[in-house]
């Protein structure tokens, strides 16, 4: 059982809930403990949809296939239940919550992750938060700012990783975390993720990115190429380098990579 996958995606089909547009046309993927996988692909290939469908975004509806996380079917679970089970999505576009401080938000989230009836010790939480902020080289005053309100692109992404560090997921889905980050911030973020991986041998990461750049700092074991809602190639880190050199152009006319009539969305 020890090498049973943490995440197993089989033949996953998904569409936008309110429209009849299928975006994922059968995705298969397995992540085992401690593994880092990267999914690369052009805009509109369905990478973000995959991440959101895995996290339980209500705007996406799974129409076929299965997803098990640590042996448990998670497709029937709400987003908050998936989070408490250990799934975390670092958002491509983090959302502003005016008037709610990061400290308050995270305290509520950590409390929600505790078993029923267990009360979070506020001093422990404070220590945890400060420790993780230090790891991500964030000023403690950041905790009092309102969630993502008036944040720069880099601050938003760092805030995502702070949340990840505090909630300690078993599966981290990172949706274009590198976009909007300068190289220094990218290194800090990568360092934070790597520290989390070191601390938890079970933890695995699914990185969604356009670029090789992030993969220099968070080194993937496997790289997958997604085009038009399907994984069309899987291999080692060398794939990312090839893509960097050649671009996605070679995939664009792959026969049968997607149904020609289906419009595709990010």
């Amino acid at each position: 059982m020890s090498d049973a996958p943490i995440l197993k995606i089989s033949g996953l089909h998904a569409k936008v809930a309110e429209e009849d547009i299928e975006i994922l046309h059968g995705v298969d993927l397995e992540l085992r403990k401690g593994e880092i996988h990267a999914i690369m692909g052009p805009n509109g290939s369905g990478k973000s949809t995959l991440a959101k469908a895995l996290a339980g975004h209500p705007a996406y509806k799974v129409t076929g296939g299965s997803v098990t996380f640590r042996g448990q079917d998670i497709l029937g679970m709400e987003a908050d239940e998936r989070s408490r089970a250990g799934v975390f999505l670092a958002f491509q576009y983090p959302v502003e919550i005016p008037g709610v401080s990061i400290a308050n938000f995270l305290r509520t989230a950590v409390q929600a992750h505790l078993p029923e009836g267990e009360e979070l010790d506020l001093f422990d939480f404070q220590d945890l938060l400060l420790e993780k902020m230090e790891l991500l080289e964030m000023d403690p005053s950041f905790a009092e700012r309102h969630v993502n309100e008036g944040f720069s692109g880099g601050e938003k992404k760092r805030n995502e990783i702070l949340q990840m560090a505090v909630l300690k997921p078993t599966l981290a889905l990172m949706d274009e975390t590198d976009s909007g980050l300068d190289i220094d911030a990218l290194k800090i973020v990568a360092n934070g993720v790597n520290k989390l991986l070191e601390a938890d041998p079970e933890m695995c990461v699914l990185l969604i990115t356009h670029y090789q750049r992030l993969l220099d700092y968070i080194k993937p074991h496997h790289v997958h190429v997604m085009v038009q809602g399907r994984i069309v190639q899987s291999g080692g880190p060398e794939i990312a380098l090839e893509l960097e050199a050649e671009g996605y152009k070679s995939w664009s006319d792959i026969e049968g990579a997607g149904t020609a009539t289906s419009p595709v969305k990010a």
Partner: protein
């Protein structure tokens, strides 16, 4: 009427009740409003002649004014008013027992963690209990400084000149139909005087005042803040006030004299059958500052627009209001600022939340009179809609008679978005808690101005309100 045995059943007999000794009401005015009723009230209170005349005059004005046709729907109100006892002594108002208090109100008390004794008071089945220690030490401090903090009746009796000099000068009888009604039948409320240059660190809380006539149906409050004084007055609480009555019409008058500073905070949460029509106004003199912090929850219809008349040069008025319109409720609230003197400044920030079929309307008047040169004002009203069925409207009236006035107005309407909810739930926070968090964040700019215990209660209340709002 409550019998001693009822009180005993409630386990409340350890508290002092100076009024449950009688089994029968001694006095009860007949239903509806008439000259006879007004005379009875005045006679019963043993008032001076001038007050009786004032009341009778007010009654005539009330009768001559038509029902307002703006604001909320008052079409059923006439029928309600015909059934009202316009004067019931507070001790007789304890006419119901704990058993008669609706379960939902009891549940809310439970969830809010309101202490047992207070629940009874809030539900109207017990008297306000004295927080003896706290109250007495404060009272001593206030007395030493010459502060008067009394019931309105005691104010009239004990300080007749000071009372008469200011009473009804800020809100005259003719102001509106309900101010006239209140003027005719007022009963209960506070009389406050802060002497020159006295600064109070501890807020005056109506809650502490040892007088049962705290929150009458027709409460009348008169507050005089003398030159250079500085104080904060708090009325109400966030717990639902249960009342068998369905009509509340208060008048709050405040004078803030030269260079004084005053804040009036009130949070009220009425039961769903209540018409709550309140007139509250401050006259703000030279260099003085008046702040209204006004929270309105519950009721069937609330019409309430705290106002500041900036009559002295450099006067400043501030109105912060939160309205929460639950299912079937209409909050027609906002604020009114009248700039009369030069270099006066004001700010109105209004936040409303509508849930279910609730409706929140912002209604505001900003007026800059000729002569109020260099007046500055900023109005911001934000509405948050919880459900597709929730409603909000904005009625901003702006009248400017000075060319160099600087006036800003911003309004926003937002709906709790799927993306916001997903963001919070994706961190493990259950959806109703996430909703409450978004709402709390929305009102944060005002909630942070509240005394801590009020802010905490308000937040808890919003959490309760958000339960079951999902889906």
């Amino acid at each position: 009427m409550p019998q001693n045995e009822t009180i005993h059943d409630l386990g409340l007999d350890e508290y002092k009740f100076n009024f449950v000794t009688e089994g029968k009401p001694v006095f009860e005015a007949s239903k509806g409003l008439s000259e006879e009723v007004v005379r009875q009230i005045s006679a019963h209170k043993g008032e001076p002649e001038w007050m009786l005349d004032f009341r009778l005059k007010a009654l005539k004005v009330y009768e001559s004014k038509p029902m307002p046709t703006w604001g909320g729907d008052l079409s059923d109100l006439e029928a309600v008013l015909d059934e009202i006892h316009f004067y019931v002594r507070p001790q007789d108002r304890m006419g119901h027992t704990w058993d008669e208090v609706p379960q939902e109100i009891k549940d809310t008390f439970e969830k809010l963690g309101i202490p047992e004794a207070e629940r009874k008071i809030l539900a109207g089945v017990g008297a306000q209990y004295e927080s003896e220690m706290v109250y007495h030490s404060l009272k001593k401090e206030w007395e030493e400084k010459g502060v008067i903090f009394d019931s309105i009746e005691d104010g009239l009796r004990k300080h007749p000149d000071l009372f008469r000099e200011h009473f009804s000068t800020i809100i005259p009888i003719h102001d509106n139909k309900f101010a006239a009604m209140n003027s005719a039948v007022w009963s209960g409320g506070s009389f406050v005087y802060i002497p020159k240059n006295v600064k109070l660190d501890t807020p005056l809380q109506a809650y502490f005042r040892v007088n049962q006539e705290r929150m009458g149906q027709f409460e009348r409050t008169l507050i005089i803040v003398d030159e250079g004084a500085n104080a904060h007055y708090i009325e109400g609480c966030t717990a639902p006030v249960y009342s068998t009555e369905s009509f509340h019409s208060g008048v709050i008058e405040i004078v803030v004299k030269k260079n004084a500073r005053f804040r009036y905070t009130t949070i009220q949460n009425w039961s769903n059958n209540m018409y709550n029509l309140v007139t509250q106004r401050a006259m703000v003199h030279e260099g003085a500052t008046m702040e209204w912090i006004d929270g309105n929850l519950g009721s069937k219809l609330t019409m309430k627009y705290p106002s500041c008349y900036l009559v002295g040069e450099g006067a400043h008025g501030e109105i912060l209001s939160i309205a929460y319109a639950g299912d079937g409720q209409h909050q027609d609230t906002g604020g009114k600022v009248v700039h009369v003197a030069p270099r006066t400044t004001s700010s109105i920030v209004s936040k409303s939340i509508s849930r279910g079929h609730g409706r929140a309307s912002y209604r505001g008047l900003l007026k800059v009179h000729e002569g109020a040169s260099q007046a500055r004002s900023n109005v911001e009203c934000d509405a948050l809609l919880i459900n597709d069925t929730s409603r909000t409207d904005t009625y901003p009236y702006i009248e400017i008679e000075e060319n160099d006035a600087n006036v800003g107005h911003e309004a926003s309407v937002s709906k709790i978005g799927e993306e916001q909810l997903f963001y919070l739930t994706s961190r493990g926070i259950p959806e109703d808690e996430a909703m409450a968090m978004i709402v709390r964040g929305f009102i944060e700019p005002i909630a942070k101005e509240l005394p801590l215990e009020y802010a905490v209660e308000l937040n808890r209340l919003i959490e309760l309100e958000m339960e079951g709002s999902v889906g």
